[in-house]
Amino acid sequence: MNKTRLAISVAAMMAAAGGAMAQDADMGAFLDAMTPEELLPLAQEEGTVTVYAFTSRIAAVETAFEAAYPGIDMIGYDMSSTEQITRIKAEAAAGINNVDVIYISDAPVVYTELLGAGLLTAYVPPRVADALDDAEKAPLLSQRLSTKVLMYNEEAYPDGAPVSNLWELTTEDWTGRVIMVDPLQRGDYLDLMTEFVLRAEEMASAYEAQFGSPIALDDGIENAGEQFIVDLFENDVILVSSTDDVNAAIGAVGQENPPIGFTSYSDRRDNEDEGWALQVANDVVPSNGIIFPAVLAVSATTQHPAAARLAIDFLMGDDSDTGGPGYAPFYVPGDYATRGDIVDHPDAVPLAEFSAWSVDPVATSSIRQAVGDLVLELQ
């Protein structure tokens, strides 16, 4: 007991000594080992924690966090992962220490351009470490798995998904009726395009299954994945600037002939509030899209190291079956908790039966730029 108190007061002194000390690696290791109870007084001393988050759900987290830990002001900014990456790099170049916690997808870019450049510090709350697989703890902590998968309007198609093979999206039936976010604006969508290319062989056999003949590639097109992207764009795929636009387009109830498109499975949670009828198309050959980690990290230049760690601990959920208030915004069908001790959401397709491809960050980052250029050429 006394020892803990001593540790706290020492840490408080170190924290009070300012930013330079806070970046000290020893200090980081020291805080890394602390329990949330030990972090709390230090975090309260720091007073605020700024989070860049790739989801609008950060607003709900903010409310819950401030209720759980009075005296610490959480400032959440909802920014796409792409924008976060640009901003974090620009802020680092400018020597600005604005952000404490980064909550982001786009792992392929995050690992190479942010973590690799020393802009992020990995942190795994000791409280939840045992409930995670090794791959979910390194190189950065994964909080949950998110998706960009094919979704349809279940009101208009009560008998199930209108599409069972991705190649159907390139046919006349779906001309001008496939919608997604511009892959050049959102990294998740560029990852999805990249995955088609990485899975070119599966795409080729799916083509044959759909049309009965082997795929013929256009000039300059190297594989079935690239050909799929080309055909999708030639079929007047509609690009918008945010997933909410995609959701509303696909999901809005009362449509006779709604479009289909790629969005987050978890956005189905808003069906009731927004008047949507979003449903996932899971039985799709060769896959319905991608599933990828949402990662949490501490900014390497954080001025609030204890509060940052406390916030990450909070975002990982409490010890109840559903993760409690910190995880509540993410305990929805379509998001898959990385923690083994949080039970699957009863209304979702179980992860084991979910047909989405799991993204390989390293392979993705190797060809991402080239796929981006292909998309740029097609626009």
């Binding site: 607003a59 640009t86 901003r87 170049a93 604005n98 604006q185 509303a248 449509q255």
Partner: protein, 581 residues
């Protein structure tokens, strides 16, 4: 002897003072204007970046990176210039030369659209015409059961219309001012000689107004090619890109080298046409000074055409001023844009966070970002109005009193250069220059001073214009006498020029204030979470699909801008001489 000596000493001091002042001004302009532009150019020549030139101009990507956006940009530029000259010229002719009823009202209304930010008009367009192409909420017309075709909801046509509706008042102002100088004796002589109206129009009025028409066309052209908001909001769903939106997209995803190349090309396009317009006018500089001292010519009698022409003018004015504002106000309260006038709620203004509405976004009144953005935006407007006007006054003073020599020439050119640089390209240049520490100076990225510096530089041409008008009002003799009594530069400014010209200065400062308040293109790239600005927040809300919030913020901007504009008009009673009867 003593007297002559002291005079000589004074004039030496004066000359060296003038030189020091010139050098100081040149240094300031160098940092503010030349350095960012040079920097952005040098950035693209680095070993990693030079390939971007090939990528953009000569690769398989260049069609989408450059040529199509360039084509769209040119269509917008020429289309908007033509539309603005037609509409602005038509209204100017009616107001200045004819016996149209309610001339003053039309004259006033025709100047207002420019005060409404173009993204506000674009948002209003969306609220009306949005169709189901991107699904979700449709606009009011589809809500009434009318089918809106894609070409009317998205892309080049609505962008053209919105931009014309925004910029025509610029053409109106320029052309009306020129028409007011038409020598009435000439017109009367022609009338007595029995010339028909068409003949008078072609033979007398048009030649006098031509330079103004060219000026109006090139100004509106430059405005249209650099506009970011309208094509961004109305073009993306049909994959329409302009150079401005392409530049924004590239910078946002971190492809800065390609973005900078696009920025340079955009500056080149804009500058080329402004230069060309200037070339056409120059050599005919006398157009504004034709002094018809005779009585005001008898106005053209429109006779039977009076009411129809009035109806057209009124429709144009109402559609471009009152209608967009009403739509914005209505759609900031309507839960669904397909039913703009039903189920009104003040939730988007004053509501607390409700998870069932808009992902739990609280009303703008409760959103701490929006409150801080309002104070920051107003603070920025006031600061830039002060710094810009002060710098503009000093530059104008230097040019008026020491206007000779290569230094003055350089100052003159540099102070008008920002007029040629689209705001978004300027923003990109500022990030390139101030995004990292320069020697011992800290980086300015994400700070209020950067916004102030960028805003001051961007609006310098307008401030210099105000400064010139003011300096011309104040007789040089006063300044000279004060100088001979030994008063220093700042003393003379503070004790003579500024007090005498305070009304003109304040009006000019208010115009700068309004321009910053409603500007999006300059700040959209400079925005960081620590420096939220109203226009950027509105744009972000709009692109996230939170239309009502976007519209509510836009209404706030509008109210502040219009109030400041009306105040400026009052201060500057002489700004619309053609309204005098």
């Amino acid at each position: 002897m003593t007297h002559a000596l002291s005079l000589k000493a004074a004039s030496q001091r004066w000359a060296s003072g003038g030189l020091a002042l010139k050098l100081a001004v040149l240094l300031a302009l160098g940092v503010l204007v030349a350095a960012p532009l040079l920097r952005i150019f040098l950035e693209t020549l680095g070993p990693d970046a030079i390939a971007a030139w090939t990528d953009v101009t000569a690769s398989r990507l260049s069609r989408n990176l450059l040529w199509l956006p360039l084509a769209n940009t040119m269509i917008l530029g020429f289309g908007v210039a033509a539309g603005c000259v037609l509409i602005g010229g038509y209204l100017a002719w009616l107001v200045v030369m004819t016996d149209i009823p309610f001339r003053r009202t039309i004259g006033l209304m025709a100047t207002l659209p420019f005060m409404i930010p173009s993204f506000a008009t674009a948002l209003a367009w969306g609220s009306l015409f949005r169709n189901s192409r991107v699904g979700g909420q449709v606009g009011f017309l589809e809500g009434l059961g009318l089918a809106v075709p894609d070409w009317l909801a998205w892309g080049i046509v609505p962008t053209l219309i919105v931009l014309i509706a925004h910029y025509y008042s610029l053409a109106f102002t320029v052309i009306a001012a020129a028409l007011a100088t038409v020598n009435s004796d000439l017109v009367e002589a022609a009338q007595i000689a029995g010339a028909k109206r068409g003949r008078i129009l072609m033979g007398i009025i048009l030649p006098v107004a031509l330079p103004a028409i060219v000026a109006g066309a090139s100004l509106t052209f430059a405005g249209a090619v650099s506009n970011f908001a309208a094509p961004a909001l109305l073009g993306l769903p049909v994959r329409m890109q302009t150079l401005a939106t392409r530049l924004f997209g590239l910078i946002e995803v971190g492809q800065t080298a390609r973005g900078y190349v696009i920025a340079i090309l955009l500056i080149a396009v804009s500058a080329l046409f402004l230069w060309f317009g200037n070339k056409v006018i120059s050599g005919r500089r006398s157009y504004a000074t034709i002094t018809g001292k005779g009585g005001r010519a008898k106005r053209f009698e429109l006779a039977g055409a009076r009411l129809p022409l009035f109806a057209v003018a009124l429709a144009i004015c109402v559609l471009t001023t009152i209608v967009p504002v009403l739509i914005l106000i209505a759609s900031s309260m309507a839960p669904s844009s397909s039913a703009l006038f039903s189920n009104w709620t003040l939730h988007y203004w004053f509501g607390a966070s409700d998870p069932a509405i808009a992902q739990g976004q609280a009303g703008v009144w409760h959103n701490p970002f929006i409150l801080s953005a309002t104070s920051l935006t107003v603070g920025l407007g006031v600061t830039v109005a002060v710094t810009g006007t002060a710098l503009g006054l000093i530059v104008a003073f230097v040019l008026a009193r020491h206007g000779r020599g290569p230094l003055a020439g350089a100052i003159n050119q540099l102070s008008f250069l920002p007029l040629l640089v689209p705001g978004i390209a300027f923003g990109a240049a500022y990030i390139a220059l101030f995004g990292a520490p320069i020697g011992p100076l800290p980086a300015l990225y994400g700070t209020f001073p950067l916004l102030v510096i960028a805003g001051t530089a961007y609006l310098l041409p307008f401030a210099v214009q105000t400064g010139r008008a003011v300096i011309q009002q104040v007789s040089g003799d006063l300044d000279e006498s004060a100088r001979l009594t030994g008063a220093g530069f700042f003393r003379r400014m503070g004790a003579i020029t500024v007090p005498l010209a305070i009304r003109g200065l304040a009006a000019g400062a208010l115009i700068v204030f309004v321009k910053i308040m409603r500007d999006l293109s300059l700040v959209v790239l400079l925005f960081t979470p620590t420096t939220p600005l109203l226009a950027v927040l509105a744009y972000r809300y709009a692109s996230e699909g939170f239309t009502q919030f976007a519209n509510a913020i836009t209404v706030v901007i509008l109210v502040i801008s219009i109030a400041a504009t009306l105040l400026a008009n009052r201060l500057q009673a002489k700004s619309q001489p053609w309204l005098k009867s």
